[in-house]
């Protein structure tokens, strides 16, 4: 590449040719909707942390959750706009800075996770909108010298009985002088105009014209780009490195050791990557150099032969099993899985003597700021995180150690200039923090009438919480709740039931992955209940129904999915259906998958997914999350695994870690149960049922049981 000054000249020339402005600076999510500078100049009314109203009638909603595809930049503004009686066409959004004001009201920190954004914001954002509306009405009442109780609001304006009108923009200055009300009255849900409607997403325009700014798109004046050479095996450390060739390469500014490896800092990404390839690093041996997942799973199988820590116990499952008429034992296995967001990890840092500004797509602002502050040697208040769009998250961008943020601050300390650390796809996949591999050994039995009498699940796998700042969430328990969620609350009426957990002492970094423990407990439990149904010679759907008398919401989604899928109706030759139901993140989901198996190859033709997530905000977004959840689950069921040999990960990129693609994608139908229950989650609940529904359908089609993911017919039993 050319010297930096020429690059800059070219850069400037192009930017002028393109009309200017295009390349200078960047803007955060939503800014494309109306120029930020202009919006700010007209902003006069900011009644609370969650909105601003300008004299131009624009309402900007400040969103305290990260937009990673799940639609919070639409759903949260809908909540606020509903109570504000705003004109939806004048609504914009912005990502919140890090500030305790924006903490998750339940989790006590700024975080996007646990499928909790909408339910946690449900009252928070409505109250913010209602408070602003009250002040705007009071301002109009003052201006007209009338009783505020005689006024009404609609589409961004206050009206009196004679239809005199003042827009929110016209009232903004006067409203700003008033004191926010101590208490607000929220609307009767029957009068909702936006909540519950399939309102179009606000972020679509900038995601289809190239203007949406993701972390990778961040550019600052004088910014350098770094890649880091990280150890090839977890736990290895850098012994020495030889950069004699790399440091002479074009554009290279600095090569330096950082705690996670060796940072190669250059004018551009490609220069940094080329130089990293020319770098020679000697890594210290790691205890994991002989690690293999085959051996690990063998060890898990051994562990499962002995009793584990008691998680749940009712009756005497061992005695009942010994005496039962018919019994079955099965071992289910799932592999390590990466989140594999389409946007690989990255983080840009501008570190100064007394401030540290960070631009990145993160799900974990409070934790990241605290961790970054320690490295920067600054108080947390001197560190600001600007949350960009996230090119997918799925849990990876909420890292308990803030790995990608902390590393970038370390790199910034040696760079001496604003710097963006970019992870290649291979870096991202090999960088750790996977869904843990798990084994479920299940023993179950039925009586002579085909009624289940016992169920014992033994789980073996790594804890996500142990050893992190979230260990406290284990509440002194001997097991990790994130390991057993979804089996510890098995809903089926079975008189003798045990759930036991074994810890796995493995050093692969593991983390929450879309649907966390449910991603494997849903698979194991819903496949095993299917095996029991077949043992009892009963229809798998009816068998489940009979065991759910105390779980009407499970039943409702099960019935809805079965009915919409045409359960029991004839199918074209070679096709069969499988069913699954699961409760996760306060929502209920059931899915029916329709598959055929031809020459060992599985084709999923159709998935019908029914959800009960209580009171919902945007049914369009719910449908999208169910579609995406099923595809995410199907990718894991059919194609995906991470395996290790000699400590080295065997998969590196999409050619060895395949994703479901357009030509493999089934038709997906989604249905929502209508009720007024408390809102549940939607980002994750659509994932757990897909793998068992497919696996059960494969059994129905072939008579072969799937007990290991990803599904391989050669391993079916």
């Amino acid at each position: 590449m050319s010297a930096p000054q020429i690059e800059r000249r070219e850069f400037l020339k192009f930017s002028l040719a393109a009309g200017g402005g295009l390349l200078i600076g960047f803007s955060l999510p939503g800014a494309d909707m109306f120029a930020t500078a202009q919006a700010q100049s007209t902003t006069v009314f900011m009644p609370n942390a969650f909105l601003r109203i300008g004299t131009d009638d624009r309402v900007t909603v400040i969103v305290n959750h990260s937009e990673m595809g799940q639609g919070v930049y639409t759903a949260l503004p809908m909540l606020l706009a509903e109570e504000l009686d705003a004109d939806w066409n004048k609504i914009g959004f912005e990502s919140a800075p890090v500030d305790p004001k924006y903490n998750h009201p339940v989790f006590g920190m700024q975080i996007t996770g646990g499928s909790s954004s909408v339910w946690s914001a449900f009252e928070q954002y409505r109250k913010a909108g209602a408070a602003a509306r009250g002040m705007l009405i009071a301002a109009a009442a003052q201006q007209w010298n009338v009783n505020p109780a005689t006024l009404r609001t609609d589409s961004g304006a206050v009206f009196d009985g004679t239809n005199r009108k003042l827009t929110y923009g016209q009232l903004a200055e006067a409203a700003a002088k008033l004191t926010p009300p101590a208490e607000v009255t929220l609307k009767d849900p029957k009068t909702f105009k936006l909540i519950g409607k399939p309102v179009k997403r606000l972020d679509t325009s900038e995601k289809i014209n190239g203007k949406a700014v993701f972390g990778l798109d961040v550019k600052m004046p004088g910014m350098l780009t770094a890649v880091v050479a990280r150890p090839p095996i977890f736990g290895a450390t850098m012994k020495s490195f030889d950069d004699s060739r790399a440091r002479t390469m074009p554009g290279v500014r600095k090569i330096a050791a950082v705690p996670s490896g060796v940072a190669v800092i250059a004018d551009s990404f490609w220069q940094a990557k080329m130089a990293r390839e020319a770098l020679h690093v000697d890594w210290d041996d790691s205890a994991m150099r002989t690690f293999s997942t085959n051996q690990m799973m063998q060890q898990f199988r051994e562990q499962a032969k002995s009793p584990g820590t008691n998680v749940r116990r009712e009756g005497d499952p061992d005695a009942a099993f010994a005496q039962a008429a018919k019994k079955i034992e099965a071992v289910y296995e799932v592999p390590y899985l990466p989140h594999a967001m389409m946007e690989p990890l990255n983080c840009a840092v501008d570190l100064r003597a007394d401030t540290c500004e960070i631009w990145t797509g993160t799900q974990f602002q409070t934790v990241d700021r605290a961790n970054a502050a320690k490295i920067a040697g600054l108080p947390p208040e001197r560190v600001q995180i600007h949350t960009t769009y996230l090119g997918g998250g799925f849990g990876r961008r909420a890292n308990p150690q803030s790995d990608f943020v902390v590393e970038a601050v370390h790199v910034a300390k040696v760079a001496g200039a604003p710097v963006k650390v970019v992870w290649t796809r291979e870096d991202d996949m090999q960088g750790g923090w996977y869904r843990p591999a798990f084994l479920h050994a299940i023993a179950g039995s039925i009586d002579s009438n085909g009624n289940p009498v016992s169920w014992r699940s033994r789980l073996v796998g790594q804890s996500i919480f142990a050893g992190t700042m979230f260990e406290a969430m284990m509440k002194g328990k001997e097991y990790d709740p994130a390991s057993v969620e979804g089996v510890d609350d098995l809903p089926y009426a079975i008189p003798n039931l045990a759930v036991e957990s074994h810890k796995a002492d493995v050093k692969v970094p593991v983390q929450w992955w879309r649907s966390v423990g449910h991603s494997h407990t849903g698979f194991a439990t819903e496949c095993f209940i299917d095996e029991l149904a077949v043992l009892a010679q009963k229809d798998p759907y009816q068998f489940r129904r009979a065991l759910l008398p105390k779980h009407p919401r499970h039943l409702a989604v099960l019935d809805l999915a079965a009915q919409k899928a045409g359960w029991g109706k004839p199918l074209p030759k070679g096709r069969a259906r499988g069913i699954a139901v699961h409760f996760a993140f306060e929502s209920y989901n059931a899915q029916v998958a329709e598959v055929s198996v031809d020459d060992g190859k599985i084709r999923v033709h159709r998935i019908v997914s029914a959800v009960d997530c209580g009171r919902y905000v945007n049914p369009g977004i719910i449908a999208a999350q169910l579609e995406g959840g099923a595809i995410f689950g199907a990718s894991a069921a059919l194609f995906q695994e991470f395996t290790f040999e000699n400590g080295r990960l065997q998969q590196t990129n999409f050619h060895t870690f395949p994703m479901m693609r357009m030509n493999e994608c089934p038709e997906i139908e989604t249905h929502i149960v209508e009720n007024n229950e408390k809102s549940g989650g939607i980002g994750e609940p659509g994932v757990p049922c897909t793998a068992p529904a497919i696996a059960n359908a494969v059994f129905a089609a072939t008579g072969k049981r799937i007990r290991k993911l990803p599904i391989r017919m050669t391993e079916a039993v």
């Binding site: 203007k211 990778l216 990404f269």
Partner: protein
């Protein structure tokens, strides 16, 4: 000095000709709508048009663009008026949005070649583009919708 056209503007650049077109677009020209996903032509996030053909810019050396015309997502339309963009809005296609530039650029070539694509045509043209969020069903609907708009003469 390399010279080529990007979104109807001529650019002259002094860059290492082996640099992938993707990084020249993103870093030298500031056109960050084109995304990096895999670096080995596996995911399609970096799809742009080179003389009207869909290419994976992450593996195309910038020298391949010399004297040619490149169109990126920023050049698909100046105002979201391309039938595909209108259909993408109507079907609420994007979730995280990261892969969508590549999806649109692949779909644009498909629609030009086959104004009335079948599902099989869509499979063939779009299978090189990965979406981790799982927007495929909506992409399929949106392509059909855009084809419908073009038939009705709503195209610009």
């Amino acid at each position: 000095m390399l010279s080529f056209i990007v979104n109807k503007q001529r650019v002259n650049l002094d860059v290492d000709p082996s640099t992938p077109l993707l990084w020249v677009l993103r870093e030298n020209l500031g056109l960050t709508g084109t995304k990096y996903g895999c670096g080995m032509a596996q995911c399609g996030a970096c799809t742009v048009h080179l003389n009207g053909e869909a290419v994976r810019s992450c593996v195309a050396p910038v020298s391949r663009a010399a004297g040619k015309e490149v169109t990126t997502i920023e050049g698909l339309s100046p105002d979201l008026s391309h039938p595909l963009q209108r259909a993408w809005i109507a079907e609420d296609v994007p979730q995280c949005g990261y892969c969508q530039s590549g999806q649109l650029m692949s779909a644009a070539v498909l629609l030009r070649e086959k104004p009335q694509p079948t599902d099989e045509d869509i499979d063939e043209a779009m299978t090189g583009n990965i979406c981790r969020c799982g927007t495929y069903p909506r992409i399929r609907k949106a392509i059909h919708r855009a084809a419908g708009m073009m038939t009705k003469g709503e195209a610009r």
